[in-house]
């Protein structure tokens, strides 16, 4: 709360919105995330890159509370998140999307989003009124579907959507929670090339509103360079580099470890 007040007076924000301190997790002998220290201010757009198995999704799981760290801590708004479950972290403002599409398969698209809106509006244990009476939930859900360009599918059953559409639905549900931080885990994973630009547009739109702090895991380099304020590189669970897109491009270790091969491929 102190942090908030400082923000409103227009003071320089010293305390980052989200940071990790020596965040580490070990699975058996394997260290999946190894003493990662990172910080990001509010309304920042940061991307995480790294080869497969670098620990990117694990890092997300640690931030969102799906996994408990072996060592270290996640600090959000100056508060340690260690004692909070993933549910509580979501309510506090850390919303995440999943790499593997994870929607309610047998419910309609609008119902999927409405459940998320309902959670945000804190309508949880109301059991004596018909849900149709909550018109506002429906209206908000419709608006979100417009943002992600899914209005025409509102009444389809979610598992009848194409993969790309499911990803959009996923983003709509994340937006519905209206969390301060959006953790996007490879929103374009498994998408056909034609489907990617639409998702990209959605993410750009979210960025342009300037209200959200976004942490993005992504493989598509051109997309990241364009969008990100900063990029961090994970390699074998360690933070290899953290800086502006151009810094990262010029960083030799990064080029050797990861970018070299991949980026050349993309240029050709």
């Amino acid at each position: 709360m102190i942090w908030r007040a400082a923000d409103e007076r227009g003071m320089l924000i010293l305390e980052p919105l989200l940071k990790t301190e020596n965040l580490t997790i070990k699975f058996g002998g394997q260290t999946a995330v190894d003493h990662v220290n990172f910080a990001m201010p509010a309304k920042h757009f940061k991307s995480i890159i790294g080869p497969n198995g670098a620990g990117k999704t694990t890092f997300f799981n640690l931030i969102s509370g799906e996994l408990k760290p072996t060592e270290g801590d996640v600090i959000f708004r100056g508060e340690s998140m260690a004692k909070y479950s993933s549910v509580e972290r979501t309510r506090k403002g850390l919303g995440r999307s999943f790499q593997i599409t994870n929607v309610f398969p047998n419910l309609t698209v609008i119902e999927n989003v409405r459940l998320a809106v309902q959670s945000k509006e804190n309508i949880r244990y109301q059991m004596f009124r018909h849900f149709i009476a909550y018109k506002d939930l429906h209206i908000q859900a419709e608006k979100l579907l417009e943002i992600v360009l899914l209005s025409n599918k509102a009444n389809s059953i979610a598992n009848q959507l194409s993969h790309g559409e499911k990803r959009k639905l996923e983003i709509a549900m994340l937006l519905a929670l209206d969390t301060e931080v959006l953790l996007l885990d490879e929103p374009t994973a498994g998408m056909s090339l034609e489907e990617v630009p639409a998702i990209l547009d959605v993410i750009k739109q979210i960025k342009q509103t300037g209200e959200k702090t976004i942490l993005l895991i992504e493989h598509k380099m051109d997309m990241i360079m364009d969008l990100s304020d900063s990029i961090m590189v994970l390699f074998n669970g360690k933070l290899l580099a953290d800086g502006t897109p151009s810094d990262i491009m010029e960083n030799e270790t990064v080029q050797q470890a990861y970018l070299g091969g991949l980026y050349d491929e993309q240029l050709t």
Partner: protein, 336 residues
């Protein structure tokens, strides 16, 4: 957003009115008793469907709540006077006990994954069965005991009407319950519990609420059942009761409220007629065999149940919005 196949209130009203005048038109005692039985099991099956069909919880211990209601009412009517006041009071007490027990059991067990939960419910209900068998001073064990019902219910028709009213009230209460915002979250838990959590819902709370509501309603069914027989023994706590509820729900259609009512009708009538056929051929003395067959066939060819299949066919033809498409995976899981 209402689906077209929302059972029309008008149609329901006509049906209820027809059932209400039935005992005055027909003087068949058998039918009055049979229908009373169907109504009671409809209430039980609907309560079970809150768990199985709406929340996706597979419980093998539902009989314990039914038994609690039955024993509470029987014991109170036996120990105190057999008056209407005691009768209604005993229903309330039974519901409170069932509510508390289902809350505690739910809190302790619902954290577990579905299969383990199912096994544990079986164990807990077994515990209550043993308790009822051993606590002979109160329950008279296996032999059970008879008791006097309130004077008013000497007239079978009065009791029939009371049960019908209970059925209608429970139906409307549960219908509102499942279509409330809370009910939508229950459906979300059924569909994808992990996702529901990541939306910020504490799913354990919801599962406990569902199990408390189901327990309370099952206790009501138990109270009515005991009075309908004017006798109670440990059979009200056995697995058979749970299996009946399960079968009724699946045959009628999981995830619908009309389904369990129809399922209760089908099963009770089948039971009645099949056992009646025993005179024709001795195999019908073992009519339970046919239930096994019906159950297997239903799960293989009819996983949506009667109402679910009709609803699905309707939906496919119109391809209109149904906000909830029935999920059959739970049924298959149970079948395994």
């Amino acid at each position: 957003m209402k689906s077209k196949f929302q059972v029309n209130n008008g149609v329901l009203l006509v049906l209820v009115a027809a059932l209400a005048v039935f005992p005055f038109v027909s003087d068949s005692r058998t039918w009055t008793i049979l229908l009373t039985q169907i109504f009671i099991f409809s209430i039980l099956a609907m309560s079970y469907d809150i768990l199985l069909g709406y929340t996706g919880i597979v419980s093998f211990g539902h009989a314990m709540f039914f038994g609690m209601g039955a024993y509470t009412t029987a014991i109170m009517l036996n120990k105190f006077e057999a008056s209407l006041g005691v009768f209604f009071f005993s229903i309330a007490i039974g519901m409170i006990i069932a509510g508390i027990i289902s809350f505690l059991v739910g809190l302790l067990t619902l954290r577990l994954k579905s299969h383990f939960f199912a096994m544990l419910t079986l164990a807990v209900s077994g515990l209550f069965l043993v308790l009822a068998e051993k606590w002979r001073t109160l329950t008279h064990g296996n032999d059970g005991f008879t008791f006097r019902a309130p004077e008013l219910f000497k007239d079978r028709v009065m009791f029939y009407l009371l049960v019908l009213i209970c059925l209608v009230l429970v139906y409307f209460f549960l219908r509102r319950f499942v279509s409330s915002p809370l009910g939508r979250v229950l459906i979300a838990v059924r569909e994808n519990e992990q996702r529901t959590k990541s939306l910020g819902y504490k799913t354990l709370h919801y599962k406990v609420i569902a199990s408390v509501v189901a327990g309370i309603v099952a206790s009501l069914a138990g109270s009515l059942y005991a009075v309908s027989l004017r006798f109670v023994n440990t059979s009200v706590l056995t697995m058979d009761i749970t299996l009946d509820a399960l079968l009724m729900t699946i045959i009628g259609g999981v995830g619908t409220l009309i389904g369990p009512i129809i399922g209760a009708g089908v099963i009770e009538l089948a039971q009645h007629y099949l056992s009646g056929l025993a005179k024709e051929h001795p195999i019908f003395e073992r009519w339970i065999i046919f239930f096994g067959i019906i159950y297997i066939l239903a799960v293989i060819f009819f996983p949506r149940g009667i109402v679910g299949t009709i609803r699905y066919a309707f939906w496919k033809r119109k391809n209109k919005d149904v906000s909830v498409v029935l999920n059959t995976s739970k049924v298959k899981e149970v079948a395994k």
